[in-house]
């Protein structure tokens, strides 16, 4: 048991064979404006081209899984907000889904509709911010980012009315949702959803035909489908290679089967495809929202069998996953009959998507490394937990 101490900084250790050429070793991060958090990449460069890249993370490791072993099932719910802190409602849903599988709880219809509405709103604001951050790294000085944040503010105000908090929502419970919708909330959502297509059109007019964006992102950071499947890549990263795998369509969880929506797929697997996929997924989310908002049924929002205090699922284990905006977010729970989980595991999409970061960056310029990394769309809270 060594005590935590700060060692002096060591330069990155890379076993790179130098045959005549001198390779420059650069540590990009952890203090870096473009690394989406505290993240380090040890890069070995031959001039401007990347020869080797090793991602280093763990700067935000809070051992969330250990905290969950000491806390009860309900007490872990606010901690799941803090995993992917942009999308707290989808994190809550994934955890609630895993516990519902473990304990055999059923969710009433009204709660399922509320879950879909909040999840799709979360997806829209996440993709808008992801595009904004990617443009920021490309040098657009925050203009698309601030336009995205304008829409995001409206959605966060909706979340504050519903759950009490803009980002750390803590709204889903095992067997339903925590609190009933406030009066007039659905109408507010309808007004905002009606304004969203105009925002997406404006974003596309600003960015899609932009020659600078196309020159910098087309053909850069190409990912092949076989490698993507084998490396467990999920979400937009997987679909940009052309693989038709969206967990909403594959696992049929929740009530997604009732809504007609398409799954956009990419052709080339480069950064431009990922940008276009995020825009198209925002449009599809608007479609789902329009359909869901039409007929939200009345009824209870919690399973009558579920308990808030003294919740003890029977011994066993369960793995539940959803299509979070960043990819496949899964929770693996082992219960031994006590009020605390025996083993609680988060399957983080951002961490698994980083497996092939090196493969995508080899041979590219170091300036493109920042773009490729930005297009993976990670959040350090999820990578490190």
């Amino acid at each position: 048991m060594s005590s935590p101490g700060f060692k002096t900084y060591r330069p990155p250790v890379m076993e790179v064979s130098e045959e005549g050429d001198e390779l420059l070793e650069v540590a990009m991060g952890p203090h870096h404006p473009s690394t989406h958090g505290v993240f380090r990449m040890d890069v070995a460069l031959d001039g401007e081209r990347v020869v080797k890249l090793k991602p280093v993370f763990g700067y935000l490791h809070r051992n969330h899984e250990k905290i969950a072993e000491k806390a009860s099932y309900l007490a872990s719910m606010p901690y799941t907000d803090r995993l992917d802190y942009f999308c707290s409602l989808t994190n809550n849903w994934a955890y609630a889904l895993a516990v519902e599988k473990l304990a055999g709880l059923e969710v009433p219809e009204r709660a399922e509709y509320i879950r879909v509405i909040t999840a799709e709103l979360t997806r829209i604001q996440n993709h808008a911010s992801a595009i904004g951050f990617l443009m920021q790294e490309m040098g657009a000085s925050g203009t698309p980012l601030m336009y995205a944040f304008r829409e995001r503010e409206k959605i966060l105000d909706l979340f504050e009315e519903l759950t009490g908090s803009r980002m750390m929502c803590n709204y889903m419970r095992f067997g339903g949702c925590r609190v009933e919708l406030p009066v007039g909330w659905l109408n507010k959502v309808r007004v905002i959803v009606d304004g969203l297509p105009r925002f997406i059109d404006e974003t596309e007019a600003l960015l899609t035909g932009n020659e600078i964006l196309m020159a910098r992102s087309q053909g850069v950071g190409i990912l092949k489908p076989d490698l993507a499947i084998n490396a467990g890549v999920s979400g937009v990263m997987l679909r940009c290679t052309g693989v038709n795998y969206d967990i909403r369509k594959v696992d049929h969880y929740g009530i997604y089967d009732r809504f007609k929506f398409r799954v956009p797929l990419g052709d080339h697997g480069d950064i431009y495809d990922r940008y276009m996929l995020r825009v198209l997924e925002m449009r599809e989310s608007v479609e789902i929202l329009k359909q869901a908002l039409k007929d939200v049924p009345a009824g209870p929002i919690m399973d009558p069998k579920s308990k808030i205090r003294g919740f003890r699922p029977k011994p066993g284990e369960a793995y539940g996953r959803i299509e979070a905006p960043k990819g496949e977010l899964g929770f693996y729970l082992i219960s031994d009959g006590s009020p605390n989980p025996y083993r609680y595991r988060v399957r983080p999409p951002s961490l698994i998507n980083l497996t092939i970061l090196e493969d995508m960056c080899l041979g590219q310029n170091v300036a493109d490394v920042v773009l490729i990394f930005g297009s993976v769309d990670i959040v350090l809270g999820e990578v490190d937990r």
Partner: protein
Amino acid sequence: MKTAEELLAIIKAALPGAGVELVSNPSPSAQHSLLLGSSTAVAVASFLRDHDELALDYCSNATGVDWPGKEVTEKMKVTKLVEGVETVVEETVKRVEPGYLEAVYHLYSVKHAHREIAGPVVLRMRTANRTDQVQLPSLTPVWRSAEFQEREIFDLFGIVFTGHPDLRRILMWDEYEDHPMRRDYVDPDDYEYEPTPHDEVLKRAEAQKAGIRESGVTA
């Protein structure tokens, strides 16, 4: 999608010496798992990935679990010499069942994603004990997604994966010498200020206060 028993039958038919067993899951999720033996795990995994019908080409999750050893008290009938006569006596014997570390993998199929789903295929591998025999074969050559996740299991639990291309710590710093996710991990005692103490911290604070009161010395 096949059930766990059908999978077991397919594996036994194709690889007879595989040493695979079924571990059932009592919860309503009904996600039963297959326990693989260490020597044949890579062969079974490759078979599952390359099989036409199963095509389990997507390793979604790889994680570790710590099962510490437990003391078992048993009553056994023993023949002993009692006052010169051989009698059968009942004795309570205590023995310690060694714990083990476990690696669990959840697999899905992307090639056949749009068939009817029935939950993931769960594989397990167990080490012999928690102290010195903690090696397991790495499944990274089969599924690349296990690369970072096996590094995390090594970092947080201590399972050494043989055959992993780059096994070093991933979340903790490289010189760290403990495995934080084990059940017997003790937090370092570095509290600066604890105004709302509970559980062990409260016990320690009260013991310290009592110690000061007894000896009359304040820190």
